[in-house]
Amino acid sequence: MKYNFGYLIDLIAVITEKELKVRYKSSFLGYLWSIANPLLFAMIYYFIFKLVMRVQIPNYTVFLITGLFPWQWFASSANNSLFSFIANAQIIKKTVFPRSVIPFSNVLMEFLHFLCTIPVIVVFLYIYDMSPSISWLWGIPLIGFGQMMLTYGLALMLSTLNLFFRDLERFVSLGIMLMFYCTPILYSVDLIPEAYRWIIGTNPLSLMIVSWRDLFMHGTINYTTLSHIYLSALVMMVVGVWVFNKLKFRFAEIL
């Protein structure tokens, strides 16, 4: 069945709205949690790495949050996507609609949370005597769209596979933790010994974090890096869509 574009937009809006409502139904502080959580982590890391271990990175707080906030978008999307079909078993078993909308709403919701954290970054920039740059206007959509594709491709794959192989949850949470330390969030790329640089260079997530940080802290965009992000995002999308299309007709049976 073909769906027209307007209907898809309506569907995405309604499902995202539903996900937001379900998540914050019983929490008083609501979406503030999405800022509080990475901020708290930033505080912990600041204490450990700046005050205790005395890392020599200037403006370390800004350095941390400009990496942590986009990371949070990616990691929460990947984690939540595992359960996105399972949590929506009721509507998948009983109604027909493009199922790919559900993980997309998930990624979109985390993206909205990420947008809410940008004012926090601005505040910290001013605290450290820096200011937002005009290049944010095109930089945020450019990198944001790349990350959106990359994350959605992964989310589509994880949400599908987790239906058939529930052990995946464990692997994913371990994998995400591993990736967190393999990505220059707590440290800068030039701190890594030359011999291990390839770990960072081959990791699309680190390209992404570095791009965000350059944009937020210096207002610069490296278009070569950006093209690499888009390339890996495209690959991820193709894989995700392929896995999803292979298995989508069996969702209603297995749930």
Partner: protein, 247 residues
């Protein structure tokens, strides 16, 4: 006369997936057994079923529990695919496959109406126009803004059916959901279904209430033991079915 739904030699076999539950440990230590379990066990829900429903007809499916009625409806709705054979459906399908199906327990009645109506294909603009009618039909009063986990089964049926009244399907599927509503609401539903009928909507109906079926449908498909046993006009098939069930 155009055909709305056509089943050609449809067989549906469900693999019994719960064997994968043991997960990776089994896969590593006993790969042969794990894999044979994956392919081996299955459950035959319907076998070699053929029937046709013309546009504008209203047809009931009857049969024992577990005979394959709901599987057939799910196939028409397009939620699952047949293992072999083909299911051809022309037109938009709106389905009410289960009590509270397509609802989220934490959301309020009103929020669920928005969700469910959108899933059934209603556009946002249309929905905003019709939501008052839906709420009015549901007779839920103040409960419309309560989360539906506190609803009784009768209230859930009312909510579900009220959404159906405001979508514009070509084919309407109703699976055993009227039974829990009170008599006056049931009458209202039957009237609504008959309204759809007069608009030329094809109706596929599952119920264990033979009198409801006689009120709505002119054709009955009797499924016994995963196969079609008899297709014919309601009166004669129902009579035979009742006799058969008394044995």
């Amino acid at each position: 006369m155009t055909v709305a739904i056509e089943f050609k030699n449809v067989t549906k076999r469900y693999p019994l997936y719960h064997h994968i539950g043991s997960g990776i440990k089994e896969l590593i230590f006993n790969p042969k057994r794990a894999l044979s379990m994956l392919s081996g066990r299955s459950y035959l829900a319907i076998e070699d079923i053929c029937f046709q429903v013309n546009k504008g007809e209203s047809v009931a499916l009857i049969g024992r529990n577990g005979a394959g009625k709901s599987t057939s409806l799910s196939l028409v709705a397009g939620v699952i695919k047949p293992t072999s054979g083909s299911v051809e459906v022309s037109g938009r399908v709106a389905s009410m496959l289960e009590l509270g199906g397509g609802f989220h327990p934490e959301l309020t009645g009103r929020e669920n109406i928005r969700l469910n109506a959108t899933l059934l294909g209603l556009r946002r603009k249309e929905l905003n126009k019709r939501i008052d009618k839906i709420i009015e039909f549901s007779e839920l009063g103040e409960f419309i803004d309560e989360p539906i986990r506190v609803y009784s089964s009768g209230m859930l049926a009312k909510l579900g059916f009220s959404v159906i009244t405001q979508v514009d399907p070509d084919i309407l599927i109703i699976d055993e959901v009227l039974a829990v509503g009170d008599i006056s609401f049931q009458r209202k539903c039957i009237n609504t279904i008959n309204d759809f009928k007069s608009k030329g909507v094809t109706i596929l109906f599952v119920s264990h209430s033979m009198s409801d079926i006689e009120k709505v449908c002119n054709k009955v498909i009797w499924i016994e033991n995963h196969k079609v046993r008899k297709i014919g006009d309601s009166k004669s098939v129902i009579a035979e079915y009742k006799e058969f069930m008394q044995q």
